[in-house]
Amino acid sequence: MTILLRLVLSLVLVANVHAQQVTLNGTVTDREGSPLVGATIRVTNTRYGAYTKSKGSFSISMPTAVDVRLTVSIVGYKSKEVDVKAADLGEPLRISLETDHLKLKEAVVVGYGTKQRVELTGSVAQIDSREIAQNTYGNFENAIVGRAPGVQVINSNGMAGSAMTIRVRGVGSLTASGEPLYVIDGIPVTQGDFGGKDRLATQTNALASINPNDIESIDILKDADAAAIYGSRGSNGVVLITTKKGSSGATRFNVSYFRGQTSETNRPRLLNGDEFRSLWSEANRQDSIALSILRPTARFTAKPLPGGLSPSQFANTDWLGLTMQKGEITDAAITASGGTNAVTFFTSLGYRNESSFAVGNTFERINGRANVDFKATEKVSLGLSTNLNYTMNNRVPSAWAGGIGAAQSSALPYFPIYNADGTYFEPQRPWYAMYNPVAQLNENTFENTESRLLTNLYAQIALPEHFALRLQGGFDLLNFTDRRYTSQIVQSEAEAEARKVGVNNVILNATLSYDNSILEGLKLSAILAMETQASNQLVTGLRGRNFPNPAFRNPTSAVVRDAYSFETAFTFLSYITRWNLNYLDKYYVSLTGRADGSSRFGSENRYGFFPSIGAGWILSNEDFLKGVESISLLKLRASIGLTGNADGIDDYQWQGTYKAGADYGGTAGIRPERLANPLLGWEQTRQIDITTEAGFFNGRLQATVSWYHKLTSNVLLNVAVPASTGFSSILKNVGSFENTGVEVVLSGYPISSGEFTWRTDLSVAHNTNKVIDNAELPPDAIGGPGETRILVGYPVGTFFINRSAGVQSRTDSVVVQRRRSGNSVNFITDRNDPRWNQFYDTTIVIVGGSQLFYNLNGRITDQYDLNDRVALGNPYPTWFGSFTNTINWKGFDLTAMIYYQFGNQIYDDAAKRQVGNLASNFNQTKDLTEKRWQNEGDVTNVPRLSLTENYDINTDRFIYDGSFVRLRQLTLGYTVPGDYLEMAGLSSLRVYVTGQNLITWTNYPGWDPEIMRDQDGAQGRNLGAGVTYLTPPQARQIVIGINAGF
């Protein structure tokens, strides 16, 4: 009641005093006198304020002439307070601001609130809207690349709409999800792949529906001090996304538009038809020679070319050329923001349409956003933010699923596209299931759409005594559809599927905060919050095959139909608190705790508690450093805490359940599905972080050095139980592993004069990962793609593989070592078994060009035995980071970002079929196949061509150095000076050209060293970060764009 009364009164007052108002005018410039546009001028303790327009000018209307204090602020400059006497209010003000390189007072989003950068006791990486705007890829994750030290962002591939993987300070799990938690405006959002899983050898990205253009900042919580506020979901890091908001003042419009081309970073050189046929003859010749040596009396029969073609059908088909293209991108957005003292708003409308280098692959997005904040009374603010997105992704097969994957492998280059009668050519089977890639692309469709409503309502109530209460409710409604059609031209029977996924995710939150000086020099800011989340997912679908007429494309019309549905849900109930103490702006302490209950945790382990403590000491504010001019900041901070990984647990996994479908004799039966584990819970990470931040020469040189250690325990593993129990395994929290690393960031402003500034940033992250405990599971119990494993003492996803000993140079009698039990490959799992080391030497004739291996003793053997596998290599880089230079000169701006990673290996799982192995019936990579053994005396590691020897085996010959340095981004922009703009009615105008992934330096011989094999499961993604199997390359983009404000 009193609130309402006050509201009415204040309205009346405003109306009354309108006539006596005074106007405050002025300009804001930088130190050199250049005008600053967009600076905020607030009259302290009132609601009055304004923004500077072109030439830095502003004007504020005030009801009465009184003494005022103005606060002037703009990003990148130190805020300034200016006192103006009532008598001087009519005089134009000239305010100049100092460049703020250190940004100590800038707000950093930390979850359930913000902190000033200087207050941080934990590690948070921030990417601002200007940096985000430089990304021309369709998703915001790409804006993080090279901008957040210690955060590795992996594009699965360069196809439009493809999935992303983010690893914050190393891989965070073994079998469960290693992805960070994504929180948009306080709402943990639905993430992941809903795209029908493995069917096309690629995954989708539910977050691709978010338009990066709407994002004000991305803050990544990296250590326990920062992430403990997200408790059981903080272990893999937390990505906090804050969308743009309006601010009071005249409505500002902004139009941005760019258009460009996209292409693959690299295209492999493969054999053409003539070359392939010639090598086929060579392989037959080599086989005949080998046979004449080993079995002189045997008769040799040459193997015919695969496919059963007559010579008149032989072609030289460039299948890759037919399935790849130059893609196009168009991206446009219009935003309007502004507001009055009571209401502010930001609205946007965005559209993006891109096609990729893969023929038929497109991604289209339409999105609208309205963020409105309303000051209902002095004490009560309300806000609504709504985001409506629609994406449509036409997907095409790749890798093993066909399309460009088949074009580089099973579609042999001497195959024609069409038969003489104009129908699609298909080679004779059975030998290999090649679907003509051109037919596949022309006749099949696979379309995904995502419509998503992300909405968020809040009320912020100021309470007496420095308390405030914030109530927030959020909805994230995701509606995903999947339509697939496979034509009977491509396979014997046409097949169609329509599938729908609905995810409803609801969050409610109440946060009580307190912010005040409780004692002289001691400030306390604390929160106490409670939050609930409920999310459910329903999948329904219909499959059909065999249609009465090829024109039917919906499964309902099929002769054979198969309907299905799937449902799952989870809930969280959380209690959260954080206490920040600041004593004399020198000593900071932060205590955080979160108790999370979840439906995913076992009945006897319902709540987890995740505390952290962090402390910071600003040495540069101590008297003994105050006098040292050159040191502008010296800060030490350290923290320790616990976080969890609950997103890795599939719903209901702790419950012992029965499943339907065990029918007998016409009666419906049920069967036990899994063992109950009432103790099942989160994976836990204890992280220690020690960091020094330093700024010299007024921040023109800055350095941040962090050391961290993450010990992850209670790792979820399917532990074997004796099969005589009726079960094979039980999911338990048993394993452990660690990540240890160092992050160094050096930033400098070598030149910072009025017209010319040069900023340079170097970030270096070093991480080592080691498995400590894998529950003594045998090596093959937890496998990833491309022979990756989890082995104690080795990094997650190390390759477990046989060692190649090269190729026999000349036909000769050779002493080789063989294993007595070697004929039963994979028999012995226990390495202490005495049979392990039963080897004997034998002398045999080895034909020149034959491949040889090392056994466990390190001795040469001619036998490929899985018992001789050893752990080798690491799929994750040990060093990675970026080197970015930004130069501004007059209106021009130039940004060049180099991204690099070193120390990781790539296992090319397709190379065993593509490097001198024609018997695989795959096309061959030209450069590596040229290194094959051809004549007696040749020294190489690629064996002679053969159609009888089995080269289709995993050896370390196909492990390559995955290090690379890449010109990730190059942008040249020009901002048109204000004088010209006003004539055009514009407030700002910038044109630019941006190139992404322009140049790559690497020794990796495959398509592209930035890789993630097609894996839909969390375990495959954790292990397979360095594995490729015909995986498409990354995309190179070159765009021209324009940004206009008015």
Partner: protein, 451 residues
């Protein structure tokens, strides 16, 4: 702190908590929509019936009684020649080079113990649920016990050395599980001796026989349980007991020999079938049919071995010749040739032949010959000489048994019982049983491996 502070804190908390009062502990209780929890699954009579059906489903799987418990043994015997192509598991079996990864061994072990665990769940749940009709409870308990006993029997057959391998049968049998697995506590358990296993099998089947009605298709009725008991006692050389059970089943009149030799496989549920696994076109988990089927011009993996062909053709009037097809210089078996056919596990002819040997062993030659002749007359071959005694009688009974029950899994058991070679391997050769598979050994530290 002043009172304002506290009241403000209080009002903030109250407002916040009021709004979040919907968030309470109970929201953390989520039940899986696609599955049902153990407590619910077994809390009602109909739920227990469904769980028992699930046990029978696994019992009928192709890797267990639906196929492999019969066909794997045949592969080792002289009766069968085969071409198993690149079938890794069967190649190991044929080359006597079994390892812990053998897929047939793995799946037989997994399915066998799956049945046992499902049966144990049913048995435990019966104590906790009240039934309107207590006879229903006895029926379900009887079915579960029969499934458990028969499963343990098959596991002993394939994973343990046979009865008599050691004088007191103290050699390792398999693991006895009589409690359902409800968590991962107490899962590690040692193998019992074969004696203990047989005791358990006999106890289960005996109790089942007291609880079940005479016939209970598609499950084992009390007569089927007794027929299984006859098998067990026969294998143990307990002739009198085996004979008594045979007599009980035969004398009950519940089953009759079919008029034709092929009737039992030509149609389902013939009068001769004492226990059949029921298959339907939609629920045909797999069966022995896939090893032998030769209709529709498919080439079977198994065909009759030379020894068997010679034995069979000694009397060309034998109607049982109609069960074989000569093709490509091979004699293929047409016993298992219908898709979704029921799989006869025990049929009456076996009981006559078992009783015949029991009687011969006890010196009752006349009645032994009479039993054999019942089977011979159906096959259209002349009666045994009435003067046969001793070993020549035993040989005649066993020869008849092999001709009658060929390719039904009997030969493997018989050779071991008779302590005769299977091909060139002695009856107690370690290569004639599976290794305990990795899925057991990896997690069961108390389980000893077969040598």
């Amino acid at each position: 702190m002043n009172t304002h502070f506290l009241s403000s804190l209080r009002s903030g908390l109250i407002m916040g908590l009021a709004i979040l009062s919907i968030g309470c502990d109970s929201m953390l209780d989520q039940t899986p929509p696609l599955d049902i929890s153990n407590d619910i699954a077994l809390s009602t009579p109909s739920g227990i019936v469904a769980a028992l059906t699930g046990a029978a489903d696994q019992f009928s799987s192709g890797a267990f009684y639906g196929g492999n418990t019969m066909s794997i043994g045949e592969l080792w015997s002289n009766n069968v020649e085969s071409n198993v192509g690149a079938d890794f598991g069967r190649l190991q079996i044929l080359s006597y080079n079994l390892n812990i990864f053998n897929p047939e061994g793995r799946s037989m072990w997994g399915d066998g113990y799956g049945v046992i665990n499902r049966a144990n769940n049913v048995i435990l749940a019966l104590d906790n649920v009240s039934f309107a009709d207590p006879r229903q409870k006895d029926l379900l308990r009887g079915r579960a016990l029969a499934l458990r006993g028969a499963s343990l029997w098959a596991l002993c057959m394939y994973f343990a050395q046979p009865w008599g391998f050691t004088p007191d049968n103290s050699h390792p049998g398999v693991i006895i599980r009589t409690e359902p697995t409800l968590g991962d506590i107490g899962t590690v358990k040692a193998r019992a001796t074969l004696k203990e296993c047989y005791d358990q099998i006999i106890a289960d089947l005996t109790q089942a026989a007291t609880l079940l009605p005479a016939k209970d298709a598609p499950y084992m009725g009390s007569l089927a349980a007794k027929a299984m008991l006859a098998r067990v006692y026969f294998h143990m050389g307990e002739w009198a007991k085996a004979e008594a059970f045979c007599t009980e089943v035969i004398a009950s009149g519940a089953f009759k020999l079919n008029p034709g030799v092929a009737d039992v496989v030509a149609s389902n549920s013939t009068p001769e079938a004492v226990f059949e696994i029921v298959n339907t076109p939609v629920d045909n988990a797999g069966s022995i049919v896939w090893d032998f089927r030769q209709a529709d011009n498919s080439l079977p993996r198994y065909w009759a071995g030379t020894d068997f062909v010679n034995a069979l053709y000694t009397d060309t009037t034998d109607k049982r010749l109609a069960l074989y097809v000569y093709r490509n210089n091979r004699l293929y078996v047409a016993k298992w040739d219908r898709i979704a056919m029921n799989t006869p596990i025990v049929r009456l002819a076996e009981l006559y032949l078992t009783r015949a040997e029991c009687r011969a062993q006890q010196g009752n030659a006349a009645e032994a010959i009479a039993d054999v002749n019942i089977v011979r007359q159906r096959a259209g071959v002349k009666d045994l000489s009435a003067t046969l005694t001793g070993n020549s009688l035993l040989n005649a009974v066993r020869r008849e048994r092999n001709l009658e029950l060929a390719f039904e899994g009997d030969i493997f058991l018989e050779r071991k019982r008779q302590r005769r070679n299977l091909k060139l391997r002695a009856w107690n050769d370690a290569a004639l049983i599976f290794k305990i598979p990795d899925i057991e050994m990896n997690a069961n530290t108390l389980c000893v491996q077969n040598p």
